[in-house]
Amino acid sequence: MALFAVFQTAFALALLSLRTCQSEVLDEYLPLAPQSLNVSINATLQHLRLQWIVHQLPYQELQMVFPIEISRIETSKVIWTGNYSTTVKKNQVLHWSWESELPLECATHFVRIKSIANDARFPQLNFVSNWSSWEEVPAPTPGDSQWLIFPRSKLVEEGANVTFCYNSETNHNISCYLGDELIHREQLDSNLYTFQLTNVPFINIYGITIACWENNRIDGAVLFVSKVLEEPKNFSCQTQDYKTLKCTWDPGVDTALGYNKQPSQHYTLFESISGKKKFCGQKNWCDWEISEDFPKTYNFTLTAENYLRKRTVRSVFDLTDRVHPKAPESVQFKNVGTTNATVTWKMPVLGNYVPLLCHIQLHDKETVRQEHNVSIRVNGEFLFRELQPDTEYMVRIRCIEATHLWKWSEWASQTFLTAEAAPSKALDVWRIVRSDKGLHNVALLWKPLSKFHANGKILFYNIIAQNLDKKSELKRLCIHAPANGTELTLGQGSYQIQVTANNSVGTSPASEIVISGSSENEEVEEERINGTEDGFFISWKPRSGNMTRYVVDWCAHPQSLHCDLQWKHVGPNTTSAIISSDAFRPGIRYNFRIYELSAEKTAYLVERKTGYTQELAPSDSPQVVVRNLTSHSFALSWKAYDTESQSGFIQGYYVCLKSNTTQCHPDSVRVGLPDKSTCCKHDISDPKQKTFLVKNLQPESFYEFSVSSYTSAGEGPNTTFMKVTTPDGRSYMLMQIILPVTLCVLLTAVMCYWKSQWVKEKCYPDIPDPYKSSILSLIKSKENTHLTIMNVKDCIPDAIEVIHKSEGTKAQFPGTEKLFTESDSPKPANLYLLPAEDFSGPAPCISFENFTYNASACDSDSFAHIPVPSTALPNQLGMLASPDNVENTHTNSQEEIPAGEISLNYVSQLASPMSGDKDTLLIDPPEPVLCSEYKMQMAVPSHLASPVPSEMAASLEPF
């Protein structure tokens, strides 16, 4: 048995030796054909993976080309041919993949390969092998598969085109949907249908579902669409301690997908010089340990990778170029004074005392005040000078490696406060002086010191007012901050006022101002100026003399109770100033006063200006009063506006008159109104004119008018119309007549009353008493002793006879015939008073000593019957009855008593209106009463009666 084994071994060795020898001989002739071809499918990537080897490679490596052919469905249908060139090494297993557009599961694929040796180094090895046999990659048999469509799932990048397919041999009525849309299919072969999705979008990480229905059976595929992997951005590495390099980058979008189809991209750091590689667990940074014998140069490659793509970025640098110091530490201050302070800090240890450059910034609240660069190693110190007292500063420090200046450290900051100092500047002081009864009321104002000059918190202000005439008169005031003014009442004379500001450390320089004893010159004429939106440009005439500067003051809010006085100093050689303020508003009048300030600090008013930044139209209309209203005119008057309330300089007034007439006065123009009515508009261009006479009006007419003012910006509102109705002209005229007449009558009455005694004497003299008359003695002594004075009480008539005076009466008065015939005697009835029937005896006669008439005694048995002027009687009778009645009555009586039988007629002096009643008169004779009217001075016989003068007759004519 052992012998057999030995023999067998010897035979094998001999055979092997023979084969080796044989192969060496055939090396030159055997083709280097691909062997052991294996084809598989990567369903996820839809790749055909080819794997083969090349046996008997004569050299360690050889450059070769492998032509490959791929057929689909049957070998004759070649769908792809190509070459794969590579350097083949001895005993190397070769791999090659081909990505199929059509899902590999949809159809059987066939692959064959051959080789070409084409290495320039070995020209003798120039050969081409034969094609290998076709390798079949079978598609799933329809009967074995429950799936309808392929690929089952696919992972693609956004924007890719994807082809799905299904075999229709067993799936006859298949319909595929994307969402609710039926997908259009194409027939690729007799039983092979495909459909393609182009430019697929990213929708969500759970992919797009394609659902296919066949009768009641459902299947589907999920297309996972990944966002395109982005290249990492801003990749850089740096160290802060020479121990660790920290590399950072911006990763871009996350390409992770659901169902674990694709995780987030991962990052790998590879350093090519050292050959080290590190998988980075974070998506945007990675630490790299620096070895103690650290190399000077690093060559990093950062690779971002997902299932679909790789992206790489590189960074090559020297380590010393990438030193990024840490922020300074322990920032502190020492020796902090009013203007100086020292800052100290410490740097974290960075290698072997690497030189550092530190950047120091000194900030106050507003801006950077100082910047310095300091070179240090570990500890830094710097002295700040020229600081402001009582100011909070912030110090910021950062450092950089001084040699390569790669990157500044983060800032380290700290604050400190300098000490207080005395205020450094005198206050800006101004005043308003009001003189009253010899006293000066001084409103003293000052502007608070800026923080820059206050040098600390101002606690109070000291004010000293000294009478320059009486040096001993001194007033001291202490005003606590934050007041910025006070009021002083000073006596006569000039005063020097000093104001100082005080903080906890000291006092500011004194600010002086002198209040003159004389009152301010208020007679300076005011000049108008035009402002703009930016303010006012004010100029004034240059002044000569001993003056130091000008001061312009104004009220920032002239319409408010506190005018908020502002002032501005202007140099002595300047005669203009631009006054601007945020407080200026359009339509507000601002008054500016320009003072010159003498060397003695006394202010003298030199000019006054007034103006608007922008004039506006008046906001209201004047209050108008109507005066002197007549039938043809009326006058309007109004008061001037308050100057402060004017929204512009009043340039004049418009009087707008509405009337029914169509014509306007020549001085006016017809304008339309907002309510579509019209009015006649008169322009009063003189703003001082405050009255206007509206004339040429119609009596008893209705008018409406309005008065509005206007400025350069326009007219004020004229919406309020007042109504006027002109009166009647006749009544007016009547009033003009009646009034003077009434006045005259009254005047006359007063005069009469005043001269009543005189009038009475002239018109109604006292009746003389016959008993006291002198003629009585004359009668008694010369003619008839029987004559006596008749007492009126004794002359009571018995009857009254009324006789109608007819034509026939002419014959009864022969002596007077001619006179009465010729005269146009009145016809009205005459009143006769007849004696009673039982009356007998001589009746006493009345005789007057009246030199106006030729009075004579009358017979006792005869009565003078004379016509009586009817001036009184008609009126008196008229009250009782009509003249006709009276006449009739008289006629009847006349028939009973024949004419001419009566020798004497007596005219009663007791005729009273009250006794005028006809009946009463006849039945009940009235009691004799004293005559109230005296017509005839005496009873005379008819033959003695004097004819009535023609003048008198005329005066007796009735109306």
């Binding site: 089952r152 799932s153 609710d180 969500n204 759970y206 659901g258």
Partner: protein, 225 residues
Amino acid sequence: MDLRAGDSWGMLACLCTVLWHLPAVPALNRTGDPGPGPSIQKTYDLTRYLEHQLRSLAGTYLNYLGPPFNEPDFNPPRLGAETLPRATVNLEVWRSLNDKLRLTQNYEAYSHLLCYLRGLNRQAATAELRRSLAHFCTSLQGLLGSIAGVMAALGYPLPQPLPGTEPIWSPGPAPSDFLQKMDDFWLLKELQTWLWRSAKDFNRLKKKMQPPAAAVTLHLEAHGF
């Protein structure tokens, strides 16, 4: 269900009656030894709460799955979800279930569903979805404990998983992503159906634990998914 106007009035009257009798329901108004009643009521309330919670979760999740899974009328045949416990059962069979069997089926179903749900949570690709699923899993775990409490109160033993039938901790990888989505869809759907069924189960149990005169049952209808 075909509702007419008359039916609406009838339902309104029924609802009013229910509200009128609500204070008299012993299960809600008992003193002394509470018995299993309160536990059943709590379990019932928890199923209703989970129904509400699942409605929101399923809406979000199905939107992630995309069409056609989030379409309201999507009603696919049950594919690849055979291992999920089925909630649908013949009405007569359901009526004939005794309390123990009824509770046991509920317990077993939720045990399985919770298992699958945790697998779903691990696959979720967004943090928001993971949070929602985790929250729901916690609630479902609570329901499971509540059912166990009711069973203990009634003296029923908890079901022991038979060897070989114990559900794996998470379902295995689906043969395709489409079927995976389908599984997720069916998981949510079965979960919904089970919650409806449980509500009816516990309502029935609750009714049984109450005196018949005061028993009021609220009939719940399961609507389409």
